[in-house]
């Protein structure tokens, strides 16, 4: 038991240090800007819990981040450097919206699962492309996922502008989804999506799948030493492709739950770079599903907290963007997560 605690402390030492260092740099900046740096930091970190409304927004922010981080974890554990979270998220969101808008005549009991399935499948498809190219032809997945992100963003921009656009509103915004397939609110917290329940459950399921099943052991073996995995009879190519299908599926689910539970429509700029922030959460959590839930909650807290901080103390909310950049830059220092082959 004591050893487990020591192991845990050892495991979280580096990410905690990176977060602490970044927050410290942030505090210096804040102190330079405002006379009330402590107030600013209190709001940054804790204003999320000041009201039920704030708390609801906090949960809404945490949901897509957690899901994307979980997807990233599956792909990284299988040795795929998937930076395609953003594209997978958008693919899921647009697919669910298109189904919801075009088939709005269907009864909710049919339409809801259909929209969810479409979102997940769209994300999974986007994970499948780089996975197959990597496994069959060793095409670098960083490049493919990066490029696919932009392609998907352009494609959704086309759909949102030309195909499912709400003609009454300004900008690339789709028509509203029929209310019958909206996700119910989190019990007791009006305005909060119940998607967070899904995210929490899935982080536990992911942990069990990765660390408590033979399938998970095989997936991780494929990710840590591919030739070893093949030697002991693991169908490694299949595991890698499955992992990327899951990664894409999680991203797609994140987008789906966003449009069904939070936005109720597709907006072209709905994501403040959830893909990259989700990747950050996963890496900060040392690609551990439960840890990723914690880092995603932390990130949701400071992203929303930044807005409260700006209102109360005049510190720009983009401080968080700046700090995220710093954190990502520092995050992998001295513990290179992947040896790039070139």
């Amino acid at each position: 038991m004591r050893r487990a605690v020591v192991d845990l402390l050892k495991a979280i030492r580096a990410p905690v240090a990176a977060i602490a260092l970044t927050l410290a740099i942030g505090f210096v900046l804040v102190a330079a800007i405002t006379d009330e740096p402590v107030r600013a930091y209190r709001d940054l970190l804790f204003a999320n819990f000041d009201s039920l409304g704030n708390f609801a927004l906090f949960l809404n922010r945490a949901t897509p981040l957690t899901l994307i981080a979980l997807g990233v974890i599956f792909s990284f554990r299988a040795g795929v450097f998937n930076v395609g979270g953003e594209g997978q998220l958008y693919a899921g969101a647009i697919a669910a919206t298109v189904v919801g808008v075009f088939l709005s005549g269907l009864p909710a009991i049919v339409l809801f699962p259909l929209a969810v399935a479409a979102g997940i499948l769209a994300g999974a498809f986007l994970g499948w492309i780089p996975a197959v190219l990597k496994v069959r032809l060793a095409v670098d997945e960083v490049v493919t996922t990066l490029m696919l992100n932009i392609i998907v963003l352009l494609f959704t921009s086309y759909l949102a502008n030309q195909v499912i656009r709400d003609p009454t509103s300004y900008g690339a915004v789709s028509q509203m989804l029929p209310q019958k397939i909206w996700l119910p609110a989190f019990p007791g917290v009006p305005g909060a999506t119940s998607g967070i329940i899904v995210a929490v459950l899935l982080s536990i399921v992911s942990w069990v799948a990765l660390f408590r099943t033979e399938w998970g052991a095989q997936l991780r073996a494929s990710g840590t030493n591919l030739r070893f995995a093949r030697t002991i009879g693991v169908p490694a190519d299949r595991r890698i492709i499955t992992a990327m299908l899951l990664a894409g599926g999680f991203g797609g689910l994140a987008g789906t739950l966003y449009v069904l539970g939070i936005g109720h429509r597709f907006e072209q700029n709905f994501s403040p770079d959830y893909g990259l922030v989700g990747l950050t959460c996963a890496l900060l959590a040392r690609i551990h599903p439960i840890g990723a839930l914690a880092t995603a909650l932390f990130y949701a807290m400071i992203i929303n907290g930044a807005a409260y901080m700006q209102i109360s103390t005049d510190v720009p909310r983009s401080l968080v963007d700046l700090l995220t950049g710093l954190l990502v830059l520092l995050m992998t220092a001295r513990l290179g997560l992947r040896q790039r082959q070139g």
Partner: protein
Amino acid sequence: MAYISFLASVLEQSSPIMLAALAAMITLRANILNVAVEGMMLVGAFTAIAVGNASGSAALALLCALVAAIVMSQLLALMTLRFSADFIVAGLGINLLAAGGSLFALEWFYRSPGGLRPITFPDLWHIPAGALSWLPVLGPALEGQSIIVVLSFLAVPACFVFLYKTPTGYYLRASGEDEHAARSAGIDVARMKALALAISGLLAGLAGAQISMDKLHFFLPEMTSGRGFIGLAATLFSGGLPWTTAAAAVLFGFFGALGDRLQALDIPSQFVLMLPYLAAILGLTFARWRLHIRNRPARILKPQATSEPSGSHRADLEPS
């Protein structure tokens, strides 16, 4: 003369993509997939407007843009080469830092989160009208282009000469191609990679300055709008070869100009704008596929396997 104005807009669109592509190419030759070109461009674009606004000097603005982008590149070099951070993650961190930092500066210092729009701004040097009238077609298209557009096309032969005609270029390529061989020849591989990043920063800074200084004279958050990635795509599509990379950059610039025209005609431009990225994926896939085919084991034409083993073999194979 619609085609001349279209050609001019192709040249103008190609310029930042060309510079970004060369920036990514130089690092790719040192075996670094530089995803931070976009961020370094943004820093260049922002610094150019901020310094031009404060000093009123276009030359100083340009110089500072280059210095700022190089500083970013060396920050990346420090984290990756000295503190062994992952190149991709740290590179994405540079992009976030550039976006977040410029936005932060806008909100805090300029109190204008929407962008920085100086009322007056010093102009870059442009090719005067009529100066190239002796040159058919290309001449009129080049007239009125900024000094940076000219530099971006001169950068192609410069990069070629650097990589293939100077010792440092050789050592840089050796460091990228076979680190072990380079090291055993006494080459400081880390220094070569830092140098590649610095050159990359210089070119990206130039690209950023072109975007904000040439015609617009203002800075907007996200104003590089993925052109760093288009440049990366051009380089990957061309396998890091200077002339091919330049050609791909012009092609992608053409797509960009075409996209603008289509948009003006109310035709969805998104599919045209996708082409560079699709080309990068397809180009890379095709290159890997060719390698895959080439490395397939040769067929055994004459199946020796059907021949009988020699007598001595057979005797030894009998169970004792």
